[in-house]
Assembly symmetry: none
Homo-oligomer: 414 residues x 2
Amino acid sequence: MKAEIITIGDEILIGQIVDTNSAWIADQFNLNGIEIYQVTSVHDNHQHILEAIKNAEGKVDLVVITGGLGPTKDDITKNTLCEYFDTKLVFHEPTFEHIKKRFAKLSIDINKLNRDQALVPENCTVLFNKAGTAPGMWFERNDTIFVSLPGVPFEMKYLLEHEILPRLLKNGKKKAIYHKTVLTQGIPESMLAEKIEVWENALPENIKLAYLPGPMAVRLRLSAMGNDDTVLQNRVEEQIQKLQKIIPESIFGFDSETMAEVIGRMLKSKGKKLAVAESCTGGYISHLITSVAGSSEYFNGSVTAYSNQIKEKILDVKKETLSEFGAVSEQVAKEMALGAKQVLNADYAISTTGIAGPTGGTDEKPVGTVWIAVAGENKAFAEKFVFGFNRERNILRSSQTALQILRRVILEDL
Amino acid sequence: MKAEIITIGDEILIGQIVDTNSAWIADQFNLNGIEIYQVTSVHDNHQHILEAIKNAEGKVDLVVITGGLGPTKDDITKNTLCEYFDTKLVFHEPTFEHIKKRFAKLSIDINKLNRDQALVPENCTVLFNKAGTAPGMWFERNDTIFVSLPGVPFEMKYLLEHEILPRLLKNGKKKAIYHKTVLTQGIPESMLAEKIEVWENALPENIKLAYLPGPMAVRLRLSAMGNDDTVLQNRVEEQIQKLQKIIPESIFGFDSETMAEVIGRMLKSKGKKLAVAESCTGGYISHLITSVAGSSEYFNGSVTAYSNQIKEKILDVKKETLSEFGAVSEQVAKEMALGAKQVLNADYAISTTGIAGPTGGTDEKPVGTVWIAVAGENKAFAEKFVFGFNRERNILRSSQTALQILRRVILEDL
């Protein structure tokens, strides 16, 4: 089954809100084997909406229309649907009863705008909206299904989960589909592509590979389509096992896991504690780690030592090390990590010191230069990186890289 | 000028990522008086992309295409554009030089895929992408402009700001437009709307007000349209002066400023230093402060004291205070702030201690309970808040509230 989503609303087209509804619907449909052919966002405009629906009808089996059903005057979807299906609005008594009950609960009087929400095109099946006042609507013409839903995320989600999906799945037009995303880190996209080229070219016909690069990881998504869920899952897992032999050190997790979650799991299972000492990352590593629920089990704390004085005073970095090598140096990074491990009573510690930018660089140490150190149970070492010119990205990439090195250190029991 | 955005990428249509690029572009265009007619998201599919471009060409003056330019083989936009414009790919030497330089800096060898990023359709103007390796492309045919940009947000934004918008604005099809956004904090949206209702209703015909609520602030954007930039600016400023008399304590800044930037400016002008002690916010306040370039001038550092042991050891919180009142208490919050101010050699310090969730709450101190303390130059005090059940949002709201209290303390010289 193939679907198109049409979102209606000026607020999307002037950039006032991000269209998260479409992503949510697409995700739900995808999980249920319904393919999204296209997402189209249009204005609160009669002609434009008509055109978009007409355009979609020929190409897909299902048209999902969201938005434009509110009680205020920018609501035009229902009238447009009447024109499209050559029908008229009729009063739907059960919907009105529902609206009355909701308003009574809030002790608000009903006005004409609220009453008009009970008007629906005569040819539709009304979908009861327990989460709000605007009902969902279901139309069928020839071989195409059309549904119209409110744009309020909470109401849209209710109707999709409780009214739309059950009806679609009963129709049994569903195809089996299985996705798994492999999370990799440490190899740039282009090098990764070269490394896994032979594997990729040998993938079975019905398994598709997509590269999803991002600041924190390059994700590889395998999607299999077919008739049997279990068969598909097995086929995908087989391929992932092969992939793991090619890039064993780069795969850190699957699907929606974060690196901080993976590290948290490793530390918990070993009963070990982590500490962090940050200079250029300014607290971001600590934030990533503490974003994971339950992180207090393995995370004692961190020190953001932005000034040299604090590096000395709290992390016990030696004055001579700072003056001899400078704050952005292998030696200081190592002393910071060792100091944090000691002061914060941890088994592992990571540290960063660098020039996040946009100013502060020199010829020898340009903006983007970052030293990252990890103190493991038995040894400490530091690596130098030169990232870019953008402060925000330098903070992100330094943090990501630090966690990545830490993962390796924990894995290898260093 | 009217534009359509076409986003290319299977990952959008299976709901794996939210299309934030379109919202960002729409916002930028809107600020510059360019109207977005439609946003269309299509698959990484040659025919589908062709169809979408063809559809757009007749309706708009500008087609912005994002995505499908990465170095891996699921990249098909360039070939599709060649077919559309009946041209061929040619090698663009300056782009290749740029790619080589970027890779040399990272000490990575260039492979064929990287080299292929320097291939561009012969009829395009190449837009230099300082932020990445895939160049932007600019085409003109009849009266329509087509631009193709990488889908990586960071690179797309660079190209739009530095290459696309300047070229479009030079074309001079622009109408006079002036926007200013007032940043407010501390009043929920609905209460704010009530407070400023009379002012809002009295706004001149050509000034529009938009509420832009967000987790860190409620932003009020005033947009004026007309023929003369200076006149518009004066009219908007007049209205803002009136607004400032109605909600003087709630306005903390304008346009894209962050609270951390505003605080940074205040500290710099006073020549004062700030320190942070975090428990439940886990480093996020420190991250917000150090996201501001130049923050090392007024920020010495922070301590994330996740365990009680670290609160005692580094921040000098008394053992008895912890055992008598518990870690989440007024007394501990205050001792943390005073300790941070002392240990980190600062004039001001903020602290947070609370239960971020989703577990760890009790009847007396439910999930979402947070104590925030500020130590000013002369006094220290703490306030209690009860936020919600969501860990991520609790971290965000605690951090935002802490900065807001700090701003008040600095303003009032406490």
